[in-house]
């Protein structure tokens, strides 16, 4: 059995969704809706099944060196520039393909009901399948060039799906914004790849990393430059400071898209990239510090913004930015495995929260304002209980949720690792308070209180089943890695430890660890209590705060995401537009214009000779013949 599972070809995993995309793209319009849905869900489902088989084989007996490479063909071969189309599976990509295919499958299943009334049903599944294929390409690539292909592919799918309902210009604008803002980061990443190729002479990840480790001393300028440029790419894709502005607007897409692309998988690609190229980051301690600071700052900023949003999806969007901030914090202090662990648990509970939000939105006839919801606890019990599980996991309620274990690991590393410091821990701990307050604000405002809206569309089984599975994972998914005093399971770290280096601990004292865990657990409970007080017991209190001058200003400021959009509009967009407006009447443009005018005049003159009379044509031919003969005879 083990042999059979180990012989499952790796290429099947990305190929199945890609085939689904091709079928839907070429024949989608003519397929009946039911069959289009079957193709869309089935391709990802099969891919998930193959992934489970491969994972079972991998875990049963890991391949030599914890790495399985599958050489498919040579993609590009120009002199020294040789790019193979090869897939590599190690513990890190195993976690990623599991998350992508499994969570992806559940979200596809959910979409068949969520999108049931949409006209462009098969187009939706075509894009979703293409996304899954590109994301799998990204995480399975064994060289950075192929990774970049997947990276741009998921960016394209994100663009297509944010602007899915393209007849509304606002959605198109949101899609372009996402595409252009991430492009800033992608450019930095492309420069990093070129630098790496120039120096290392290869883009093969393992070779390039080995070369960098052997050739660049720690803290050397080139290593820092490459690491910072890679960070730039990761920051763009993962919506971290200062390129976080696109993600809240990306909520213009359908809710399953927000769940799959803008919460569970694509936005965590930046975390994957940094974990994948950790060798370069280990050579650049300054860049590591930058990663940690970006993460800490982002999680605080986005946490504050999430507190005051009124659109249910925007709350979740800011919380996604904030949670990825935690992952960056973990990466920055060298807790690679903890960051990937949080990535996995986050994929479960954030996909769950988005899908739950989608079910609520669908039930209330596309109402997204949380203050027009309320009292849904009794109307939508299945959604309530699963959403509660997701929110508890997001808030990291101690012991009973997956989020607790992963976030705890990051926070402990932020304090205790050699690269960590108390300030980073304090930022993370304060972020935990914000997280709890905004997640339970959602729960209390949406599901408690008086009923305000009419519940129209109760969720069917294809919505409830994915919610239940994800809720179960959000609760028990954390028990693969528990702290010392709680069973001391280190299964996840053991797995990723085959690929990622262990944390470089500076504080080994377990009493400190336990104390900090108690403190964070206490903070979380205080947060729940605060949310209950503010939104259930004394609903007048937040309104009073909002009514005061300072409160109103702060609420507006946070609602707009710390004014980043206005700032970028002023310093980037408007100067660019002004520049473009000026360049429209560029004097240099006149030179080609002269050429065009000459050609047009010549055309007018010559077309006058075409008068349609046979006699003048004969005259032309005769004259030409005479001239030709004269030239031959006279010369």
């Amino acid at each position: 059995m083990g042999e059979l599972l180990r012989s499952l070809p790796l290429w099947l995993v990305p190929t199945l969704p890609a085939a689904g995309f091709l079928v839907l793209a070429l024949a989608g319009g003519r397929l009946p809706r039911r069959r289009a849905g079957t193709v869309g869900v089935g391709s990802v489902g099969l891919s998930a099944a193959v992934t489970l088989g491969i994972a079972a084989g991998f875990l049963d007996r890991p391949p030599e060196g914890g790495l399985r490479v599958e050489t498919l063909w040579t993609w590009i071969d120009i002199g020294a520039f040789e790019i193979g189309f090869n897939l590599a599976l190690d513990a890190l990509s195993l976690v990623m393909i599991f998350v992508v295919t499994f969570v992806g499958f559940l979200i596809h299943l959910y979409s068949t009901e969520y999108m049931a009334d949409d006209e462009a049903y098969s187009r939706f599944f075509a894009y979703m399948n293409l996304f899954v294929a590109c994301m799998l390409m990204l995480v399975l690539a064994d060289n950075l060039f192929l990774l970049y292909l997947g990276w741009e592919g998921v960016g394209l799918c994100s663009y297509l799906l944010i602007g899915f309902w393209y007849s509304d210009p606002a959605n198109g604008a949101a899609a372009r914004k996402a595409f252009i803002v991430t492009r800033v980061g992608d450019t930095a990443m492309a420069v990093a790849l070129l630098l790496l190729f120039k120096h290392a002479g290869t883009l093969d990840i393992r070779q390039a990393m080995a070369w960098a480790t052997a050739s660049w001393p720690v803290g050397s300028g080139m290593a820092v430059a490459v690491a910072l440029l890679l960070l730039g790419g990761a920051v763009g894709k993962s919506a971290q400071l200062p390129l976080q502005t696109w993600l809240p607007d990306a909520m213009a897409g359908p809710t399953p898209v927000s769940a799959l692309i803008h919460a569970a998988t694509m936005v965590t690609a930046g975390v994957y990239l940094i974990a994948r190229t950790h060798a370069v980051f280990l050579l650049a301690p300054q860049a590591m510090t930058a990663v940690a600071i970006v993460g800490a700052a982002t999680l605080l900023l986005a946490g504050c913004s999430a507190l005051v949003q009124t659109d249910i999806k925007r709350v979740l969007a800011y919380s996604t930015i904030s949670q990825i901030g935690y992952m960056f914090l973990g990466l920055g202090v060298g807790a690679w495995s903890a960051a990937v662990f949080h990535l996995m648990t986050h994929a479960f509970f954030k996909a769950l929260l988005f899908l739950g939000a989608g079910a609520v939105i669908l039930a209330l006839h596309h109402e997204q304002d949380i203050f027009r919801m309320g009292g849904l606890r009794r109307r939508l019990p299945a959604v309530f209980w699963t959403f509660l599980a997701g929110a508890a996991s997001l808030a990291a309620l101690p012991l009973v949720t997956a989020g607790f274990f992963s976030k705890d690991l990051i926070l402990w590393a932020a304090w205790g690792s050699a690269a960590g410091c108390r300030w980073l821990w304090a930022a993370g701990a304060f972020g935990a308070l914000l997280t709890t307050v905004y997640s339970f604000r959602l729960v209390f405002v949406v599901f408690f209180g008086d009923e305000k809206g009419h519940v129209g569309h109760p969720p069917g089984p294809r919505i409830v089943v994915p919610l239940t599975v994800l809720a179960a994972l959000s609760i028990v998914g954390g028990f693969v890695e528990t702290p010392g005093w709680l069973g001391h399971v280190t299964w996840f770290t053991d797995l990723t430890g085959q690929t990622l280096p262990a944390v470089d601990w500076a504080v080994e004292d377990h009493h400190v660890e336990h104390l900090l865990q108690m403190v964070v657990a206490g903070i979380t409970l205080v947060g729940v209590l605060a949310a209950w007080l503010l939104y259930v017991r004394r609903p007048a209190l937040p309104a009073a705060i909002k009514a005061s001058a300072a409160g109103a200003w702060l609420a507006r400021f946070w609602l707009s995401g710390w004014g980043f959009d206005a700032l970028y509009d002023r310093i980037v967009v408007r100067p660019f537009v002004a520049c473009a407006a000026r360049l429209r009447r560029d004097p240099i443009d006149r030179i080609p214009a002269v050429l065009a005018a000459t050609a047009a005049a010549g055309n007018a003159a010559l077309s006058r000779t075409q008068d349609g009379r046979i006699r003048s044509y004969v005259f032309g031919i005769g004259l030409g013949a005479v001239i030709a003969v004269a030239i031959v005879v006279l010369t």
């Binding site: 077309s607 000779t609 349609g612 009379r613 006699r615 004969v618 005769g622």
Partner: protein, 103 residues
Amino acid sequence: MSGAVLLGHGLLVASALFAIGLVGVLVRRNLLFQLLSIEIMLNAAAMAFVIAGARWGVADGQVMFVFILVMAAAEVAVGLALLLRISRRVPDLDGDAVSGMGG
């Protein structure tokens, strides 16, 4: 009469015929007469072949004459068919009136 004289005179006649044909195409406006003039030009060219063949004593000239004859027949067939169509639209067959393809 020597070969050179034959050649000189013969080609003179051929050229004269060709010129008459060309002038005919240029100055006549009736399409039927233009077609006739083209026949004259074709025959002038064919005659030049025959004369050249006689000058060098080979049959190639006469072979070419047969070719040109066939081609002329084909051309007349197509030309007259077109003429019949055009005569429906332009009864007096004025070539200049059929200039709708002009740029």
